[in-house]
């Protein structure tokens, strides 16, 4: 599989790799399945103003899956939850120039941010 420059860049130098301790202001989204060959874990740290002040990821998957989640952490930082929810898989796919067979990686990234936001919001209602 030949990859584009941006995928390679994120793959070689992934941004924001890591994990947060579980806390009330942290939302965690884990999507995908080992059986399908990719699992993404995205965590966001949200401040009192509802702004994502930090984000980290870990991904098991192909280069496009790693690049999609790495790019996602860059994009969500500084965004409000409402803004972050607007991120669409098509934008990720376009930015990384993903080939058609890798579009599902960007779909997974979109699922991951939505899952992380949902997890955070669930914690706030308890």
């Amino acid at each position: 599989m030949a990859y584009g420059e941006k995928v390679l860049d994120h793959y070689e130098n992934p941004r924001n790799v890591g994990s947060f301790e579980n806390a009330n202001n942290v939302g965690t989204g884990m999507v995908g399945a080992p059986a399908c060959g990719d699992v993404m874990k995205l965590q966001i740290k949200v401040n009192d103003n509802g702004v994502i002040e930090d984000a980290v990821f870990k991904t098991y998957g192909c280069g496009s899956a790693i690049a999609s989640s790495s790019l996602l952490t860059e994009w969500v930082k500084g965004k409000t939850l409402a803004e972050a929810r607007q991120i669409k898989n098509t934008q990720i796919a376009e930015e990384l120039a993903l080939p058609p067979v890798k579009i599902h990686c960007s779909v997974l990234a979109e699922d991951a941010i939505n899952a992380a936001i949902a997890d955070y919001q669930k914690k706030q209602t308890i």
Binding site: M1, Y3, E5, L8, Y11, P14, V17, S19, M30, V31, G32, A33, P34, A35, C36, G37, D38, V39, M40, K41, K58, T59, Y60, G61, C62, G63, A65, I66, V101, I103, H104, V107, L108, D111
Partner: protein, 423 residues
């Protein structure tokens, strides 16, 4: 400078960097380079000043010379595997040989029965030939191998029926390198008068084959797996007792009617020379390859959660297939981009398909997705193995630091206890 040109020059810079650093080739089961000695022989049958004639031309020396060369090559191929030259039919490769053997025998014997037995770990050339026969109304039993990749003879025997006309089992598996006991399988077939075909694309020149005593009726060969040219192969068709099959290619009646088409003299000469060299050098070469393979394995086996796929005893010297658990195969290939290797996990479709061979061994999804095949060959050096080991260790560590599954494993979480959302 616009962004586009900036990208372009970055791309060409890295392309230049890549061209400088040629990857280490560890994919000898995919194909091999042509041995220089083979190239030299082939060139004698190509240019205007060469013996370029059509071996079927009976009226001049161009034809006679080409025919003599083809017959010499036929003998060289036969010699490596203990066959009579008259039992060798040249084809375009093992794919064609498999098709000819399987469809040819099934069609010829359809009045006797329409049941075929094969194994789930066969090459696609065998599996898809069988699928085609199923569409034509044949029944095929696809055996599950044991977890080590070998066939359980009891399971095999139980699968045979009165209407079974053909068994097709490969000698050496292309992904995991395990060697099947074709002598034992063949004896069972003989007892029941079932025709036995063996795909030997990955075993010729690597494992001793003596068809003079082996109970095998048909055997497929390919030249490009043992330092010959691509696009040429052969099918061994036993003469005593005579195995009959229906031709799949019709035309001028070449190769005793079994495979029409002008013989590709230079390719055939190349195959002959490659088989001659293999016969001469196989023992010494296997010894060297085994040392390199063991060195490679010793260099990575202490990494946590590393699993060898396939039996380590009944295995060719040049193959090592390992799963690096919790690391996905394609990203590992990317991290090892200075190694030319192949992954069992083909992440090319929306639904990622792990290797069907590893799945047939009963490997779970994570292990099947994390497998890498290293195949070592004639031009592999010890220094290359050292470099490969170092690269693998760095890459696995990097990707495990990125892997949420690795974290979960380290925390003692059973991945099977989690309800994953399939996508």
């Amino acid at each position: 400078m616009s962004e586009q040109t900036a990208n372009k020059s970055a791309a060409s810079n890295s392309a230049a960097a890549k061209a400088k650093q040629k990857p280490i080739y560890l994919d000898y089961s995919a194909t091999t380079p042509i041995d220089e000695r083979v190239v030299t022989e082939m060139l004698k049958y190509m240019g205007p000043d060469s013996h370029f004639g059509n071996p079927a031309s009976r009226s001049h020396s161009f034809g006679w010379d080409a025919e003599a060369a083809v017959e010499e090559a036929r003998k060289q191929v036969a010699d490596l595997v203990g066959a009579n030259p008259k039992e060798i039919v040249f084809t375009s490769g093992a794919t064609e040989s498999d098709n000819l053997a399987i469809k040819g025998v099934a069609h010829f014997n359809q009045k006797r029965g329409k049941h075929i037995v094969t194994c789930k770990t066969e090459h696609k050339a065998v599996l898809d030939s069988c699928r085609q026969l199923e569409r034509e109304g044949y029944e095929v039993t696809y055996l599950d191998p044991m977890p080590n990749g070998l066939i359980d003879l009891k399971v095999f025997e139980d699968a045979l029926r009165d209407d079974t006309t053909l068994v097709s089992i490969m000698h050496v598996n292309n992904e995991i390198g395990v060697i099947q006991d074709i002598a034992a399988i063949g004896r069972i077939c003989r007892d029941r008068k079932i025709i036995f075909h063996v795909d030997a694309a990955q075993s010729a020149g690597k494992v001793d084959i003596n068809l003079d005593v082996l109970p095998v009726d048909l055997m497929s060969f390919s030249a490009h797996k043992i330092y010959g040219p691509k696009g040429i192969g052969a099918l061994y068709v036993q003469r005593k007792p005579r195995v009959r099959l229906e031709a799949q290619m019709h035309g001028g009646g070449h190769e005793r009617g079994m495979r029409s088409g002008t013989l590709a003299t230079h390719q055939i000469v190349g195959m002959g020379e490659a088989f001659r060299i293999a016969k001469q050098e196989m023992t010494a070469e296997n010894e060297r390859l085994l040392k390199l393979r063991n060195k490679l394995y010793d260099g990575v086996k202490d990494i946590e959660e590393v699993y060898v796929n396939g039996d380590m005893e009944h295995r060719i010297a040049g193959n090592l297939n390992i799963s690096f658990n919790y690391v996905e195969g394609e990203s590992l290939l990317m991290a090892l981009n200075n190694l030319a290797i192949s992954s069992g996990s083909a992440c090319t479709s929306a639904s990622l398909e792990p290797s069907y061979v590893l799945r047939a061994l009963g490997r779970n999804d994570e292990l099947a997705h994390s497998s890498i095949r290293f195949t070592i060959g004639r031009y592999t050096t010890e220094e290359e193995i050292d470099r490969a080991i170092e690269n693998i260790r760095v890459a696995v560590e990097k990707l495990r630091n990125l892997s949420p599954l690795w974290d979960m494993y380290k925390e003692g979480i059973d991945l099977n206890s989690i309800e994953w959302a399939a996508h």
